[in-house]
Symmetry: C2
Subunit: 333 residues, 2 copies
Protein backbone atom coordinates (compact mmCIF):
# COMPACT_ATOMS: atom_id res chain seq x y z
CA UNK A 1 0.00 0.00 0.00
CA UNK A 2 1.58 3.25 -1.10
CA UNK A 3 0.61 6.86 -1.64
CA UNK A 4 -0.67 6.09 -5.15
CA UNK A 5 -3.09 3.47 -3.78
CA UNK A 6 -4.33 5.85 -1.10
CA UNK A 7 -4.85 8.58 -3.67
CA UNK A 8 -6.85 6.22 -5.87
CA UNK A 9 -8.95 4.84 -3.04
CA UNK A 10 -9.70 8.32 -1.70
CA UNK A 11 -10.40 9.65 -5.18
CA UNK A 12 -7.90 12.49 -4.85
CA UNK A 13 -4.55 13.34 -6.39
CA UNK A 14 -1.22 12.22 -4.95
CA UNK A 15 -0.45 15.87 -4.26
CA UNK A 16 -3.57 16.09 -2.13
CA UNK A 17 -2.58 13.02 -0.12
CA UNK A 18 0.80 14.67 0.42
CA UNK A 19 -0.88 17.86 1.54
CA UNK A 20 -3.06 15.94 3.98
CA UNK A 21 0.03 14.19 5.38
CA UNK A 22 1.65 17.60 5.78
CA UNK A 23 -1.58 19.04 7.23
CA UNK A 24 -1.63 21.78 4.63
CA UNK A 25 -4.21 24.57 5.13
CA UNK A 26 -4.89 24.35 1.39
CA UNK A 27 -6.95 21.17 1.86
CA UNK A 28 -10.47 21.36 3.26
CA UNK A 29 -11.22 19.61 6.56
CA UNK A 30 -13.74 17.44 4.70
CA UNK A 31 -11.12 16.14 2.26
CA UNK A 32 -8.62 15.70 5.06
CA UNK A 33 -11.09 13.53 6.97
CA UNK A 34 -11.80 11.44 3.88
CA UNK A 35 -8.15 10.83 3.07
CA UNK A 36 -7.26 10.11 6.70
CA UNK A 37 -10.06 7.56 6.90
CA UNK A 38 -8.67 5.70 3.88
CA UNK A 39 -5.18 5.85 5.35
CA UNK A 40 -6.40 4.48 8.68
CA UNK A 41 -8.50 1.70 7.12
CA UNK A 42 -5.49 0.57 5.11
CA UNK A 43 -3.03 0.94 7.96
CA UNK A 44 -0.98 3.30 5.84
CA UNK A 45 2.02 5.09 7.36
CA UNK A 46 3.03 7.96 5.15
CA UNK A 47 6.44 7.26 3.69
CA UNK A 48 9.19 9.67 2.95
CA UNK A 49 7.90 10.58 -0.47
CA UNK A 50 4.88 12.15 1.09
CA UNK A 51 6.84 14.17 3.59
CA UNK A 52 9.05 17.19 3.33
CA UNK A 53 10.29 17.88 -0.16
CA UNK A 54 8.12 19.61 -2.64
CA UNK A 55 5.03 20.76 -0.85
CA UNK A 56 4.82 24.07 0.94
CA UNK A 57 8.39 24.35 -0.19
CA UNK A 58 10.45 27.32 0.88
CA UNK A 59 12.99 26.19 -1.70
CA UNK A 60 15.60 26.20 1.04
CA UNK A 61 18.04 23.42 1.89
CA UNK A 62 19.81 23.27 5.24
CA UNK A 63 23.55 22.56 5.08
CA UNK A 64 25.32 21.55 8.27
CA UNK A 65 29.04 20.90 8.57
CA UNK A 66 31.36 21.02 11.56
CA UNK A 67 33.56 23.85 10.20
CA UNK A 68 33.35 25.47 6.78
CA UNK A 69 36.93 26.79 7.04
CA UNK A 70 38.08 23.17 6.66
CA UNK A 71 39.09 22.68 3.00
CA UNK A 72 37.06 19.47 2.54
CA UNK A 73 33.88 21.06 3.84
CA UNK A 74 34.43 24.39 2.09
CA UNK A 75 34.71 22.59 -1.23
CA UNK A 76 31.58 20.57 -0.51
CA UNK A 77 29.54 23.59 0.57
CA UNK A 78 30.67 25.52 -2.51
CA UNK A 79 29.68 22.68 -4.79
CA UNK A 80 26.34 21.95 -3.12
CA UNK A 81 25.38 25.62 -2.95
CA UNK A 82 26.11 26.26 -6.59
CA UNK A 83 24.29 23.15 -7.78
CA UNK A 84 21.28 23.75 -5.54
CA UNK A 85 21.14 27.34 -6.72
CA UNK A 86 20.83 26.09 -10.27
CA UNK A 87 17.78 24.15 -9.20
CA UNK A 88 16.37 27.28 -7.57
CA UNK A 89 17.15 26.41 -3.96
CA UNK A 90 18.66 28.66 -1.31
CA UNK A 91 21.08 27.31 1.26
CA UNK A 92 20.93 27.91 4.98
CA UNK A 93 24.38 27.18 6.40
CA UNK A 94 25.08 26.04 9.95
CA UNK A 95 28.58 25.21 11.18
CA UNK A 96 27.97 22.96 14.14
CA UNK A 97 31.43 22.27 15.50
CA UNK A 98 32.42 18.69 16.27
CA UNK A 99 31.04 18.22 19.79
CA UNK A 100 28.08 15.86 20.06
CA UNK A 101 25.86 18.35 21.89
CA UNK A 102 26.65 21.11 19.38
CA UNK A 103 25.74 18.82 16.50
CA UNK A 104 22.38 18.11 18.13
CA UNK A 105 21.73 21.81 18.67
CA UNK A 106 22.61 22.54 15.04
CA UNK A 107 20.16 19.99 13.68
CA UNK A 108 17.38 21.02 16.02
CA UNK A 109 17.90 24.71 15.31
CA UNK A 110 17.91 24.40 11.55
CA UNK A 111 14.78 22.21 11.66
CA UNK A 112 12.88 25.08 13.17
CA UNK A 113 13.30 26.86 9.84
CA UNK A 114 11.22 25.80 6.91
CA UNK A 115 13.75 23.74 5.04
CA UNK A 116 12.97 21.19 2.35
CA UNK A 117 15.87 18.87 3.09
CA UNK A 118 18.94 18.67 5.25
CA UNK A 119 22.48 17.83 4.13
CA UNK A 120 25.04 16.85 6.76
CA UNK A 121 28.60 17.18 5.51
CA UNK A 122 31.22 15.08 7.20
CA UNK A 123 31.32 11.65 8.69
CA UNK A 124 31.20 12.95 12.27
CA UNK A 125 27.39 12.87 11.90
CA UNK A 126 27.36 9.10 11.38
CA UNK A 127 26.71 6.51 13.97
CA UNK A 128 29.79 6.02 16.14
CA UNK A 129 31.19 2.48 16.00
CA UNK A 130 30.81 1.98 19.73
CA UNK A 131 27.27 3.41 19.73
CA UNK A 132 28.40 5.81 22.41
CA UNK A 133 26.43 8.64 20.83
CA UNK A 134 22.75 8.28 20.14
CA UNK A 135 21.72 9.25 16.63
CA UNK A 136 18.06 9.50 17.61
CA UNK A 137 18.12 13.24 16.96
CA UNK A 138 19.00 12.55 13.32
CA UNK A 139 16.28 9.92 12.98
CA UNK A 140 13.89 12.46 14.50
CA UNK A 141 15.05 15.02 11.92
CA UNK A 142 14.44 12.48 9.16
CA UNK A 143 10.78 12.27 10.21
CA UNK A 144 10.45 15.91 9.27
CA UNK A 145 12.64 16.29 6.19
CA UNK A 146 14.79 14.01 4.04
CA UNK A 147 18.32 13.88 5.43
CA UNK A 148 21.37 13.43 3.21
CA UNK A 149 24.67 12.35 4.71
CA UNK A 150 27.90 13.15 2.94
CA UNK A 151 30.55 10.56 3.72
CA UNK A 152 28.64 9.04 6.59
CA UNK A 153 26.15 6.24 7.13
CA UNK A 154 22.97 5.87 9.14
CA UNK A 155 20.33 3.30 8.34
CA UNK A 156 16.92 4.94 8.23
CA UNK A 157 13.95 5.13 5.90
CA UNK A 158 14.47 8.85 5.19
CA UNK A 159 18.25 9.17 5.42
CA UNK A 160 20.29 8.94 2.20
CA UNK A 161 24.04 8.45 2.26
CA UNK A 162 26.78 9.07 -0.29
CA UNK A 163 30.17 7.78 0.82
CA UNK A 164 33.70 7.36 -0.37
CA UNK A 165 34.79 3.77 0.09
CA UNK A 166 37.48 4.78 2.56
CA UNK A 167 38.11 1.20 3.69
CA UNK A 168 39.04 0.03 0.20
CA UNK A 169 41.00 3.15 -0.70
CA UNK A 170 43.01 2.94 2.53
CA UNK A 171 43.57 -0.79 2.17
CA UNK A 172 44.84 -0.30 -1.34
CA UNK A 173 47.12 2.63 -0.44
CA UNK A 174 48.69 0.82 2.53
CA UNK A 175 49.05 -2.37 0.45
CA UNK A 176 51.04 -0.36 -2.10
CA UNK A 177 53.35 0.89 0.64
CA UNK A 178 53.87 -2.70 1.80
CA UNK A 179 54.44 -3.96 -1.74
CA UNK A 180 57.13 -1.30 -2.18
CA UNK A 181 59.00 -2.82 0.76
CA UNK A 182 57.73 -0.83 3.74
CA UNK A 183 57.07 -2.69 6.96
CA UNK A 184 56.88 -0.01 9.65
CA UNK A 185 53.98 2.12 8.53
CA UNK A 186 52.92 4.96 10.78
CA UNK A 187 49.15 5.55 10.90
CA UNK A 188 48.32 9.22 11.55
CA UNK A 189 44.74 10.27 12.26
CA UNK A 190 42.91 13.19 13.78
CA UNK A 191 39.51 11.61 14.18
CA UNK A 192 37.45 8.66 15.34
CA UNK A 193 34.63 9.42 12.93
CA UNK A 194 32.93 6.78 10.81
CA UNK A 195 35.20 7.59 7.88
CA UNK A 196 38.35 7.64 10.04
CA UNK A 197 37.41 4.22 11.37
CA UNK A 198 36.98 2.89 7.85
CA UNK A 199 40.47 4.13 7.04
CA UNK A 200 41.90 2.56 10.19
CA UNK A 201 40.30 -0.77 9.34
CA UNK A 202 41.71 -0.58 5.81
CA UNK A 203 45.17 0.03 7.28
CA UNK A 204 44.84 -2.85 9.75
CA UNK A 205 43.51 -5.28 7.14
CA UNK A 206 46.32 -4.47 4.70
CA UNK A 207 48.91 -5.21 7.42
CA UNK A 208 47.09 -8.39 8.41
CA UNK A 209 46.84 -9.68 4.83
CA UNK A 210 50.60 -9.15 4.49
CA UNK A 211 51.25 -10.89 7.81
CA UNK A 212 52.67 -7.76 9.39
CA UNK A 213 51.95 -7.60 13.07
CA UNK A 214 49.92 -4.57 14.14
CA UNK A 215 52.06 -2.25 16.26
CA UNK A 216 49.76 0.02 18.28
CA UNK A 217 52.75 2.29 18.98
CA UNK A 218 52.65 3.26 15.31
CA UNK A 219 49.02 4.42 15.44
CA UNK A 220 49.14 8.08 16.40
CA UNK A 221 46.24 10.43 17.01
CA UNK A 222 46.88 14.14 16.65
CA UNK A 223 45.25 17.39 15.57
CA UNK A 224 44.80 18.01 11.88
CA UNK A 225 47.40 20.74 11.85
CA UNK A 226 50.71 20.74 10.04
CA UNK A 227 52.88 22.24 12.77
CA UNK A 228 51.28 20.34 15.64
CA UNK A 229 51.76 17.03 13.84
CA UNK A 230 55.39 17.83 13.00
CA UNK A 231 56.09 18.71 16.63
CA UNK A 232 54.30 15.64 17.95
CA UNK A 233 56.51 13.40 15.82
CA UNK A 234 59.63 15.33 16.87
CA UNK A 235 58.66 14.73 20.50
CA UNK A 236 58.58 10.96 19.96
CA UNK A 237 62.16 10.01 18.98
CA UNK A 238 61.52 6.36 19.89
CA UNK A 239 59.12 5.97 16.94
CA UNK A 240 60.68 3.91 14.16
CA UNK A 241 58.89 4.04 10.81
CA UNK A 242 59.66 3.87 7.10
CA UNK A 243 56.28 5.06 5.80
CA UNK A 244 53.31 7.20 6.81
CA UNK A 245 49.67 6.72 5.97
CA UNK A 246 47.75 9.82 7.09
CA UNK A 247 43.95 10.21 7.10
CA UNK A 248 44.27 13.85 6.02
CA UNK A 249 46.75 15.85 3.93
CA UNK A 250 47.57 18.25 6.79
CA UNK A 251 48.86 15.37 8.92
CA UNK A 252 50.90 14.00 6.02
CA UNK A 253 52.54 17.39 5.47
CA UNK A 254 53.34 17.54 9.19
CA UNK A 255 55.16 14.20 8.72
CA UNK A 256 56.93 15.63 5.65
CA UNK A 257 58.16 18.60 7.72
CA UNK A 258 59.31 16.17 10.43
CA UNK A 259 61.29 14.21 7.81
CA UNK A 260 62.97 17.37 6.57
CA UNK A 261 64.09 18.39 10.07
CA UNK A 262 65.31 14.84 10.81
CA UNK A 263 67.14 14.86 7.45
CA UNK A 264 65.27 11.79 6.26
CA UNK A 265 64.86 11.50 2.51
CA UNK A 266 61.32 11.33 1.13
CA UNK A 267 60.37 8.89 -0.33
CA UNK A 268 63.62 6.89 0.05
CA UNK A 269 63.73 6.83 3.87
CA UNK A 270 60.08 7.60 4.52
CA UNK A 271 57.21 7.16 2.04
CA UNK A 272 54.17 9.32 2.74
CA UNK A 273 50.54 9.10 1.60
CA UNK A 274 47.95 11.70 2.57
CA UNK A 275 44.19 11.82 2.14
CA UNK A 276 41.77 14.23 0.40
CA UNK A 277 43.95 15.74 -2.33
CA UNK A 278 43.74 19.29 -1.03
CA UNK A 279 45.60 22.24 -2.52
CA UNK A 280 48.24 21.90 0.23
CA UNK A 281 49.16 18.50 -1.25
CA UNK A 282 50.64 20.25 -4.31
CA UNK A 283 52.07 23.21 -2.43
CA UNK A 284 54.49 21.10 -0.36
CA UNK A 285 57.86 19.78 -1.52
CA UNK A 286 58.09 17.01 -2.63
CA UNK A 287 54.46 17.04 -3.72
CA UNK A 288 52.26 14.68 -1.76
CA UNK A 289 50.86 11.35 -2.93
CA UNK A 290 47.31 11.32 -1.61
CA UNK A 291 43.92 9.63 -1.86
CA UNK A 292 41.36 11.71 -3.71
CA UNK A 293 38.18 11.19 -1.69
CA UNK A 294 36.12 12.67 -4.52
CA UNK A 295 33.97 15.06 -2.58
CA UNK A 296 32.58 16.68 -5.73
CA UNK A 297 31.27 13.33 -6.91
CA UNK A 298 29.61 12.77 -3.53
CA UNK A 299 27.98 16.20 -3.72
CA UNK A 300 26.75 15.46 -7.21
CA UNK A 301 25.17 12.19 -6.05
CA UNK A 302 23.45 13.99 -3.18
CA UNK A 303 22.00 16.69 -5.44
CA UNK A 304 20.86 14.19 -8.06
CA UNK A 305 19.22 12.02 -5.41
CA UNK A 306 17.52 14.98 -3.81
CA UNK A 307 16.07 16.12 -7.12
CA UNK A 308 14.79 12.63 -7.84
CA UNK A 309 13.21 12.42 -4.39
CA UNK A 310 11.58 15.76 -5.12
CA UNK A 311 9.99 14.16 -8.14
CA UNK A 312 8.77 11.33 -5.89
CA UNK A 313 11.19 8.81 -7.38
CA UNK A 314 12.78 6.02 -5.38
CA UNK A 315 16.43 6.58 -4.59
CA UNK A 316 19.19 4.51 -2.98
CA UNK A 317 19.90 4.84 0.70
CA UNK A 318 23.60 4.21 0.29
CA UNK A 319 25.84 5.03 -2.66
CA UNK A 320 29.58 4.35 -2.61
CA UNK A 321 32.24 5.98 -4.76
CA UNK A 322 35.77 4.73 -5.11
CA UNK A 323 38.66 6.79 -3.75
CA UNK A 324 41.58 7.27 -6.13
CA UNK A 325 45.24 7.20 -5.16
CA UNK A 326 47.01 10.17 -6.75
CA UNK A 327 50.70 9.31 -7.11
CA UNK A 328 53.06 12.24 -6.69
CA UNK A 329 56.56 12.45 -5.25
CA UNK A 330 56.33 11.22 -1.66
CA UNK A 331 56.03 7.58 -2.76
CA UNK A 332 58.30 5.53 -5.02
CA UNK A 333 55.81 3.24 -6.72
CA UNK B 1 15.42 65.89 12.21
CA UNK B 2 15.78 62.23 13.14
CA UNK B 3 13.58 59.31 14.08
CA UNK B 4 13.54 60.39 17.74
CA UNK B 5 12.17 63.82 16.81
CA UNK B 6 9.49 62.28 14.59
CA UNK B 7 8.49 59.89 17.38
CA UNK B 8 8.18 62.76 19.83
CA UNK B 9 6.24 65.00 17.45
CA UNK B 10 3.87 62.18 16.51
CA UNK B 11 3.46 61.12 20.13
CA UNK B 12 4.46 57.52 19.40
CA UNK B 13 7.42 55.33 20.22
CA UNK B 14 10.51 55.04 18.01
CA UNK B 15 9.56 51.43 17.37
CA UNK B 16 6.21 52.59 16.00
CA UNK B 17 7.89 55.07 13.64
CA UNK B 18 10.10 52.22 12.45
CA UNK B 19 7.07 50.02 11.92
CA UNK B 20 5.36 52.76 9.91
CA UNK B 21 8.48 53.16 7.77
CA UNK B 22 8.45 49.41 7.22
CA UNK B 23 4.68 49.48 6.61
CA UNK B 24 4.10 46.87 9.30
CA UNK B 25 0.57 45.41 9.52
CA UNK B 26 0.88 45.73 13.30
CA UNK B 27 0.28 49.47 13.14
CA UNK B 28 -3.25 50.82 12.57
CA UNK B 29 -3.92 52.86 9.46
CA UNK B 30 -4.84 55.79 11.68
CA UNK B 31 -1.46 55.80 13.42
CA UNK B 32 0.31 55.30 10.10
CA UNK B 33 -1.43 58.37 8.68
CA UNK B 34 -0.54 60.43 11.73
CA UNK B 35 3.14 59.46 11.66
CA UNK B 36 3.42 59.91 7.91
CA UNK B 37 1.93 63.38 8.18
CA UNK B 38 4.60 64.38 10.73
CA UNK B 39 7.29 62.89 8.52
CA UNK B 40 6.03 64.78 5.50
CA UNK B 41 5.65 68.10 7.31
CA UNK B 42 9.22 67.82 8.53
CA UNK B 43 10.60 66.61 5.23
CA UNK B 44 11.95 63.52 6.96
CA UNK B 45 13.55 60.74 4.92
CA UNK B 46 13.76 57.61 7.02
CA UNK B 47 17.40 56.82 7.65
CA UNK B 48 19.05 53.46 7.95
CA UNK B 49 18.24 53.06 11.60
CA UNK B 50 14.60 52.92 10.79
CA UNK B 51 15.00 50.40 8.01
CA UNK B 52 15.86 46.79 7.95
CA UNK B 53 17.52 45.47 11.06
CA UNK B 54 15.47 44.66 14.08
CA UNK B 55 11.86 44.95 13.10
CA UNK B 56 9.94 42.09 11.59
CA UNK B 57 13.26 40.35 11.88
CA UNK B 58 13.67 36.85 10.53
CA UNK B 59 16.96 36.75 12.38
CA UNK B 60 18.64 35.83 9.10
CA UNK B 61 21.71 37.45 7.58
CA UNK B 62 22.59 37.03 3.92
CA UNK B 63 26.21 36.19 3.17
CA UNK B 64 27.45 36.55 -0.39
CA UNK B 65 30.94 35.67 -1.57
CA UNK B 66 32.25 34.77 -5.02
CA UNK B 67 33.38 31.24 -4.06
CA UNK B 68 33.35 29.67 -0.60
CA UNK B 69 35.90 27.05 -1.63
CA UNK B 70 38.47 29.88 -1.71
CA UNK B 71 40.41 29.74 1.58
CA UNK B 72 40.01 33.46 2.34
CA UNK B 73 36.25 33.35 1.89
CA UNK B 74 35.80 30.00 3.64
CA UNK B 75 37.55 31.37 6.71
CA UNK B 76 35.42 34.51 6.63
CA UNK B 77 32.15 32.61 6.19
CA UNK B 78 33.09 30.24 9.04
CA UNK B 79 33.89 33.12 11.33
CA UNK B 80 30.82 35.21 10.44
CA UNK B 81 28.46 32.25 10.68
CA UNK B 82 29.70 31.19 14.09
CA UNK B 83 29.61 34.70 15.51
CA UNK B 84 26.18 35.48 14.06
CA UNK B 85 24.90 32.17 15.42
CA UNK B 86 25.96 33.28 18.89
CA UNK B 87 23.79 36.34 18.45
CA UNK B 88 20.90 34.11 17.37
CA UNK B 89 21.11 34.77 13.62
CA UNK B 90 20.91 32.23 10.81
CA UNK B 91 22.99 32.62 7.69
CA UNK B 92 21.76 32.33 4.13
CA UNK B 93 24.77 31.67 1.91
CA UNK B 94 25.04 32.61 -1.75
CA UNK B 95 28.19 32.02 -3.80
CA UNK B 96 27.87 34.48 -6.64
CA UNK B 97 30.90 33.80 -8.79
CA UNK B 98 33.03 36.71 -9.95
CA UNK B 99 31.19 37.87 -13.06
CA UNK B 100 29.44 41.22 -12.77
CA UNK B 101 26.07 39.94 -13.91
CA UNK B 102 26.23 36.97 -11.52
CA UNK B 103 27.00 39.28 -8.61
CA UNK B 104 23.95 41.36 -9.46
CA UNK B 105 21.74 38.26 -9.65
CA UNK B 106 23.07 37.06 -6.29
CA UNK B 107 22.24 40.31 -4.53
CA UNK B 108 18.82 40.60 -6.11
CA UNK B 109 17.96 36.97 -5.36
CA UNK B 110 18.96 37.07 -1.72
CA UNK B 111 17.07 40.33 -1.22
CA UNK B 112 13.87 38.53 -2.12
CA UNK B 113 14.29 36.59 1.12
CA UNK B 114 13.53 38.25 4.39
CA UNK B 115 17.06 39.00 5.52
CA UNK B 116 18.00 41.52 8.20
CA UNK B 117 21.33 42.51 6.71
CA UNK B 118 23.64 41.59 3.88
CA UNK B 119 27.38 40.88 4.10
CA UNK B 120 29.44 40.89 0.90
CA UNK B 121 32.74 39.09 1.31
CA UNK B 122 35.52 40.07 -1.03
CA UNK B 123 36.63 43.23 -2.69
CA UNK B 124 35.17 42.25 -6.07
CA UNK B 125 31.91 43.84 -4.84
CA UNK B 126 33.52 47.27 -4.50
CA UNK B 127 33.39 50.04 -7.00
CA UNK B 128 35.81 49.34 -9.83
CA UNK B 129 38.51 52.01 -10.18
CA UNK B 130 37.49 52.84 -13.73
CA UNK B 131 33.77 52.95 -12.84
CA UNK B 132 33.19 50.44 -15.61
CA UNK B 133 30.68 48.54 -13.49
CA UNK B 134 27.72 50.32 -12.00
CA UNK B 135 27.23 49.67 -8.29
CA UNK B 136 23.68 50.95 -8.37
CA UNK B 137 22.37 47.47 -7.57
CA UNK B 138 24.27 47.56 -4.27
CA UNK B 139 22.99 51.03 -3.46
CA UNK B 140 19.51 49.75 -4.25
CA UNK B 141 20.10 46.82 -1.89
CA UNK B 142 21.23 49.24 0.81
CA UNK B 143 17.84 50.96 0.62
CA UNK B 144 16.29 47.70 1.79
CA UNK B 145 18.79 46.34 4.31
CA UNK B 146 22.10 47.47 5.78
CA UNK B 147 24.97 46.22 3.62
CA UNK B 148 28.37 45.30 5.04
CA UNK B 149 31.38 45.05 2.77
CA UNK B 150 34.35 42.94 3.78
CA UNK B 151 37.54 44.29 2.26
CA UNK B 152 35.79 46.59 -0.16
CA UNK B 153 34.58 50.16 -0.23
CA UNK B 154 31.45 51.88 -1.47
CA UNK B 155 30.32 55.26 -0.21
CA UNK B 156 26.66 55.10 0.78
CA UNK B 157 24.48 56.00 3.74
CA UNK B 158 23.62 52.37 4.49
CA UNK B 159 26.80 50.56 3.40
CA UNK B 160 29.44 49.80 6.03
CA UNK B 161 32.95 48.74 5.10
CA UNK B 162 35.74 46.96 6.95
CA UNK B 163 38.99 46.83 5.03
CA UNK B 164 42.57 45.73 5.34
CA UNK B 165 44.88 48.60 4.46
CA UNK B 166 46.29 46.73 1.48
CA UNK B 167 48.00 49.81 0.07
CA UNK B 168 50.10 50.34 3.19
CA UNK B 169 50.80 46.65 3.76
CA UNK B 170 51.92 46.20 0.14
CA UNK B 171 53.99 49.37 0.17
CA UNK B 172 55.74 48.23 3.32
CA UNK B 173 56.37 44.67 2.06
CA UNK B 174 57.81 45.85 -1.29
CA UNK B 175 59.86 48.52 0.52
CA UNK B 176 61.44 45.75 2.63
CA UNK B 177 62.36 43.82 -0.53
CA UNK B 178 63.99 46.96 -1.93
CA UNK B 179 65.83 47.71 1.32
CA UNK B 180 67.22 44.16 1.24
CA UNK B 181 68.83 44.96 -2.13
CA UNK B 182 66.20 43.80 -4.63
CA UNK B 183 65.60 45.95 -7.69
CA UNK B 184 63.74 43.69 -10.14
CA UNK B 185 60.58 42.85 -8.27
CA UNK B 186 57.97 40.81 -10.09
CA UNK B 187 54.38 41.77 -9.30
CA UNK B 188 52.01 38.78 -9.56
CA UNK B 189 48.25 39.29 -9.36
CA UNK B 190 45.09 37.43 -10.28
CA UNK B 191 42.63 40.27 -9.95
CA UNK B 192 41.72 43.85 -10.73
CA UNK B 193 39.48 44.16 -7.70
CA UNK B 194 39.51 47.14 -5.37
CA UNK B 195 41.88 45.34 -3.03
CA UNK B 196 44.17 44.14 -5.84
CA UNK B 197 44.39 47.72 -7.09
CA UNK B 198 45.37 48.94 -3.63
CA UNK B 199 48.14 46.34 -3.60
CA UNK B 200 49.31 47.39 -7.05
CA UNK B 201 49.41 51.03 -6.02
CA UNK B 202 51.42 50.12 -2.91
CA UNK B 203 53.90 48.24 -5.11
CA UNK B 204 54.19 51.13 -7.56
CA UNK B 205 54.58 53.75 -4.83
CA UNK B 206 57.32 51.75 -3.08
CA UNK B 207 59.28 51.55 -6.35
CA UNK B 208 58.72 55.22 -7.05
CA UNK B 209 59.85 56.31 -3.57
CA UNK B 210 63.04 54.29 -4.08
CA UNK B 211 63.56 55.80 -7.54
CA UNK B 212 63.20 52.44 -9.26
CA UNK B 213 61.62 52.77 -12.66
CA UNK B 214 58.37 50.88 -13.11
CA UNK B 215 58.82 48.00 -15.55
CA UNK B 216 55.41 46.95 -16.88
CA UNK B 217 56.98 43.72 -18.13
CA UNK B 218 57.36 42.68 -14.50
CA UNK B 219 53.65 43.08 -13.72
CA UNK B 220 52.06 39.74 -14.50
CA UNK B 221 48.41 38.79 -14.33
CA UNK B 222 47.55 35.10 -13.94
CA UNK B 223 45.05 32.74 -12.35
CA UNK B 224 45.28 32.16 -8.64
CA UNK B 225 46.50 28.62 -9.07
CA UNK B 226 49.84 27.19 -8.08
CA UNK B 227 50.54 25.11 -11.16
CA UNK B 228 49.20 27.63 -13.68
CA UNK B 229 51.37 30.37 -12.20
CA UNK B 230 54.48 28.15 -12.19
CA UNK B 231 53.90 27.24 -15.83
CA UNK B 232 53.23 30.84 -16.85
CA UNK B 233 56.60 31.89 -15.40
CA UNK B 234 58.34 28.93 -17.04
CA UNK B 235 56.89 30.03 -20.37
CA UNK B 236 58.45 33.50 -20.01
CA UNK B 237 62.23 32.88 -19.93
CA UNK B 238 62.93 36.51 -20.84
CA UNK B 239 61.64 37.70 -17.46
CA UNK B 240 64.50 38.81 -15.23
CA UNK B 241 63.63 39.25 -11.56
CA UNK B 242 65.23 38.90 -8.12
CA UNK B 243 62.07 39.10 -6.02
CA UNK B 244 58.34 38.39 -6.21
CA UNK B 245 55.50 40.25 -4.58
CA UNK B 246 52.29 38.24 -5.07
CA UNK B 247 48.78 39.40 -4.17
CA UNK B 248 47.84 35.90 -3.03
CA UNK B 249 49.73 32.96 -1.47
CA UNK B 250 48.83 30.58 -4.31
CA UNK B 251 50.62 32.80 -6.82
CA UNK B 252 53.66 33.10 -4.54
CA UNK B 253 53.89 29.31 -4.23
CA UNK B 254 53.66 29.04 -8.02
CA UNK B 255 56.72 31.33 -8.14
CA UNK B 256 58.43 29.16 -5.51
CA UNK B 257 57.85 26.07 -7.66
CA UNK B 258 59.21 27.96 -10.67
CA UNK B 259 62.35 28.83 -8.68
CA UNK B 260 62.87 25.20 -7.71
CA UNK B 261 62.64 24.00 -11.32
CA UNK B 262 64.98 26.78 -12.49
CA UNK B 263 67.37 25.86 -9.64
CA UNK B 264 67.21 29.37 -8.22
CA UNK B 265 67.83 29.60 -4.50
CA UNK B 266 65.08 31.13 -2.36
CA UNK B 267 65.57 33.66 -0.83
CA UNK B 268 69.17 34.20 -2.05
CA UNK B 269 68.40 34.41 -5.79
CA UNK B 270 64.71 35.20 -5.53
CA UNK B 271 62.93 36.63 -2.48
CA UNK B 272 59.20 35.91 -2.35
CA UNK B 273 56.33 37.50 -0.42
CA UNK B 274 52.77 36.22 -0.62
CA UNK B 275 49.50 37.60 0.67
CA UNK B 276 46.78 36.26 3.03
CA UNK B 277 48.75 33.87 5.27
CA UNK B 278 46.82 30.77 4.21
CA UNK B 279 47.63 27.25 5.36
CA UNK B 280 49.48 26.65 2.07
CA UNK B 281 52.00 29.30 3.14
CA UNK B 282 53.32 26.98 5.85
CA UNK B 283 52.96 23.78 3.83
CA UNK B 284 55.47 24.85 1.17
CA UNK B 285 59.25 24.62 1.45
CA UNK B 286 60.82 27.02 2.33
CA UNK B 287 57.85 28.39 4.22
CA UNK B 288 56.39 31.54 2.72
CA UNK B 289 56.76 35.07 4.02
CA UNK B 290 53.32 36.61 3.56
CA UNK B 291 51.06 39.50 4.50
CA UNK B 292 48.39 38.53 7.00
CA UNK B 293 45.32 40.38 5.76
CA UNK B 294 43.57 39.71 9.08
CA UNK B 295 40.24 38.49 7.81
CA UNK B 296 39.07 37.42 11.27
CA UNK B 297 39.56 40.93 12.56
CA UNK B 298 37.52 42.29 9.63
CA UNK B 299 34.73 39.79 10.37
CA UNK B 300 34.75 40.79 14.02
CA UNK B 301 34.40 44.46 13.08
CA UNK B 302 31.48 43.66 10.78
CA UNK B 303 29.64 41.66 13.45
CA UNK B 304 30.24 44.26 16.14
CA UNK B 305 29.06 47.04 13.83
CA UNK B 306 25.98 45.08 12.82
CA UNK B 307 25.00 44.45 16.42
CA UNK B 308 25.44 48.14 17.25
CA UNK B 309 23.32 49.10 14.26
CA UNK B 310 20.70 46.69 15.51
CA UNK B 311 20.64 48.65 18.73
CA UNK B 312 20.17 51.81 16.68
CA UNK B 313 23.67 53.07 17.44
CA UNK B 314 25.72 55.11 14.99
CA UNK B 315 28.56 53.16 13.41
CA UNK B 316 31.45 54.04 11.11
CA UNK B 317 31.10 53.63 7.38
CA UNK B 318 34.75 52.72 6.89
CA UNK B 319 37.08 50.92 9.28
CA UNK B 320 40.65 50.04 8.33
CA UNK B 321 42.85 47.37 9.88
CA UNK B 322 46.57 47.07 9.34
CA UNK B 323 47.99 44.10 7.43
CA UNK B 324 50.94 42.37 9.10
CA UNK B 325 53.97 41.01 7.28
CA UNK B 326 54.72 37.50 8.57
CA UNK B 327 58.42 36.80 8.01
CA UNK B 328 59.22 33.20 7.21
CA UNK B 329 61.93 31.68 5.02
CA UNK B 330 61.36 33.08 1.51
CA UNK B 331 62.81 36.47 2.48
CA UNK B 332 66.17 37.32 4.03
CA UNK B 333 65.30 40.32 6.17
Amino acid sequence: MNIYDIAELAGVSIATVSRVVNDSPMVSEKTKAKVRKVMQENDYTPNVFARGLGLNSMKTIGLICPDVSDAYMAKAVAFLESDLREYGYDCMLYCSGNAYEDRQIAVNTILQKRIDALVLIGSVYSQADDNSESIDYLKEAARKVPVFLMNGYIEDENIYCALCNDFEASYSAVKKLIDSGRRKILYLSDSHSFSANQKRMGYEKALQDSKIELNKELMIFTYNKIIETRDLLLSRPELDFDAVFATDDGLAIGALKYAKIKKKRVPEDISIIGYNNFEISISCEPELSTVDSRSERLCKIIIDSMMLLLKKKQISHKVYVKGNLIRRSTTDF
